[in-house]
Subunit: 423 residues, 2 copies
């Protein structure tokens, strides 16, 4: 007899949302989340920027996941269930000639669908006080910066308090009776023969096997089904079983710049009849998040080539100085001499195939991973799809009655568009 019907490994936002929908739709089953942290949502979920966007994914699937989730969260707010502090400041994606060329078709679609508008360099410069023209700036040219030709502004985007989303699903989990097992680290999944023979060294390679549970801090916890929702750590659990989860862990850092003097004026600047400053994403990976409530900017730069895969999550002060500051001060000279007052880092579970989440079964397990840095804004949809996938349903019903074919996010018969806007 298993100790539990369903064990969800990992109490990040995706584990919580999955556990909630599993338990709420299968009240008769015992469901537990095992989390190594002292509380849920304290791993990479907590290090997230908390950005959310509607409309501006190149993958249709990503759009559906994010839009239904954001709509769900909005309605949870409207109903008084929670307050997520959603600040819909908009996403502003800056385009130079090169980026413009690469995303031309999708940009046209976004514009046609009314998901975004295009701002010209004059608006960017006059209203958002950004430097867009580097003509004659030899240093900028050597750095590879080129003139900003346009800004794609998507108003239905912004950021929210990740902690509050975590608390929403934590409370829901507790309310429906999900057990939260905290401070326990799952070391491995327990592979057992379906029909034990009582011989040494089982399971033998010719035996049919199942995942009988997990080993957590040396203790065996038996389970009928196991959901692996361990984000970047997923290969640590699945590699020893010989199951590929198709993700790599990539470090991402955030630096907090207190907004004083000229920076304070920039932070409180408004445009377009009272809009606050948007989240800004520059062509070379630099991004700026205006955090009015913290009187600060969060800044970073998404590095690709040369940032090796791995689970290290120490922030690097030199990373700010070497990599973030030089382009930052070019686009916004207001940041001259700005230094971070604090910083942190986490890892994304990156799916480099197509940038969409992966939700697939093997044996009696379900793997939920590959959110590629946009898990929070897709959490509600992913939780619902995880429930459907675990119980072999063909469709999941997302918020608002949107029917979603579960196999699209699987491996066997995966059907997703590639995501080019991994911001």
């Amino acid at each position: 007899m298993p100790d539990l019907d369903v064990v969800v490994v990992g109490g990040g936002i995706l584990g919580l949302a999955s556990a909630y929908y599993i338990k709420s739709l299968h009240g008769e089953l015992s469901v537990a989340v095992i989390e190594r942290g002292r509380d849920v949502g304290q791993g990479n979920t907590a290090r997230s920027v908390g950005g959310y966007r509607q409309g501006i994914f190149t993958s249709y699937v990503n759009r559906v996941l994010a839009e239904t989730t954001i709509q769900h969260l909005r309605e949870a707010e409207a109903s008084g269930e929670t307050s997520l502090n959603m600040r819909e400041v908009g996403y502003l994606i800056l385009l130079d000639d090169n980026r413009l060329k690469n995303v031309e078709t999708v940009v046209e679609t976004f514009l046609k669908e009314g998901k975004a508008i295009l701002l010209n360099p004059e608006t960017l410069s006059e209203k958002l006080h950004m430097r867009t023209d580097f003509t004659g700036d030899e240093e900028a040219m050597l750095m590879g910066l080129s003139n900003i030709k346009a800004g794609l502004f998507a108003p239905r985007c912004g950021f929210l308090d990740v902690e509050k989303v975590v608390n929403l699903y934590k409370k829901r989990c507790i309310d429906v009776g999900v057990e939260l097992i905290l401070g326990k680290r799952v070391e491995k999944l327990l592979l057992e023969p379906e029909n034990p023979l009582g011989i040494p060294r089982e399971p033998r390679a010719w035996q049919k096997v199942r995942v009988a549970g997990v080993v957590a801090d040396g203790e065996v916890i038996k389970a009928g089904k196991v959901v692996v929702a361990t984000g970047s750590w997923t290969p640590q659990l699945l590699d020893p079983l010989g199951v590929d989860c198709f993700i790599k862990a990539k470090k991402r850092q955030l630096f907090v710049i207190s907004a004083e003097g000229e920076l304070q004026r920039l932070l409180t600047n408004t445009w377009d009849g009272g809009r606050p400053m948007p989240m800004m994403f520059f062509p070379n990976g630099l991004y700026i998040v205006p955090r009015m409530s913290d009187k600060a900017f969060w800044v970073s730069l998404t590095d690709e080539f040369g940032r090796g895969f791995g689970l290290d999550d120490e922030p690097e002060p030199s990373y700010y100085l070497d990599n973030v500051y030089p382009p930052l001060v070019k686009y916004y000279p207001q940041f001259l001499n700005a230094r971070p007052s604090s910083m942190w880092a986490g890892t994304y579970s990156m799916n480099y195939l197509d940038g969409n989440p992966l939700i697939f079964r093997f044996l009696n397990c379900l793997v939920v991973t590959g959110a590629s840095g946009s898990g929070v804004m897709k959490s509600d949809a992913i939780g619902r799809i995880a429930e459907a996938a675990l119980f072999g349903k063909e469709y999941a019903m997302l918020h608002g009655g949107v029917k979603f074919e579960v196999s699209r996010l699987g491996v066997e018969n995966r059907r997703v568009d590639k995501e080019y806007f991994i911001l």
Copy 2:
């Protein structure tokens, strides 16, 4: 100035075939293969079974790659260029109810296309002396063996001497002027800024980068283009750059059983008017290769769940006893008490997404990997596609004038069917 125009990292069969086609189509370029072994083809290529098959892949792409390669090798033999000792004994894939159900549609296609015929249990038992019926054998039932319902026999398959294929491409490489740099281990790929600024810690994350060459045994070798053809070791070179190659290394073992007495009679048995014993693949992963010339059987069992990923390539005597022998002696009681006289192991570069090779560019590099255990039989086609991909051609011309769209095997716009017959 680079030391070389093209460096191919890895002198396995795929590196050799790639280097050969690159140099033979671009005679003006300096091309070198860097191999850590004392000779080429001594890594996982040498540990291969050397099986080849025509027709019976579920992936159309895999069929094309194998068929054009085998045809090419046949003609190389016919022309007197080489002798590969191709023994077309046929592949016999044994089907129980479960496997039959899973592959029903493809089996029908193979039969319709004349790629294979179906043998009934009586033929298997009477002509091939195999046990197919385990009714009443409680031990077999406990082991999960079920009755063999049919055998899919594909005659245009067999095995060849891998060493001779290696020597063919080695000689060709030397003939066209590829430099073979042996006994040098490439430790890493050298990432450099496209436009160096002469500042510390370049490349910075905002700089455009290229792979300027490799570091081999501490020595920098600069190259205009780099081809990474390192099979299972590919993640070791690409992970530090933050480039996913979508493969996992999986250990595979082979055990040699000398054929004496009853086993000798089995080895020399003929059927269907003089056909030798075929290579046999059983439902639970067990396979048997009759090696007349060695007076031996090669046997093993392909283990999936529980065989963790990794580069360990030590053969395990206990693996034979625990995992190979028990089902082996059930299907063929002639193996009673048979013990291996020798054994070896290697690793497959497994692509678990779709089981087809991966040939894709990043920066000025080309990655050729993921052959998933069938690289030798696809080597000629892969070499030609690698050349085309490296030089940005849309199509590669395979043997016999078969036009192949290079992007099918890439990541960006991958178009392959899933391979279900990874044997």
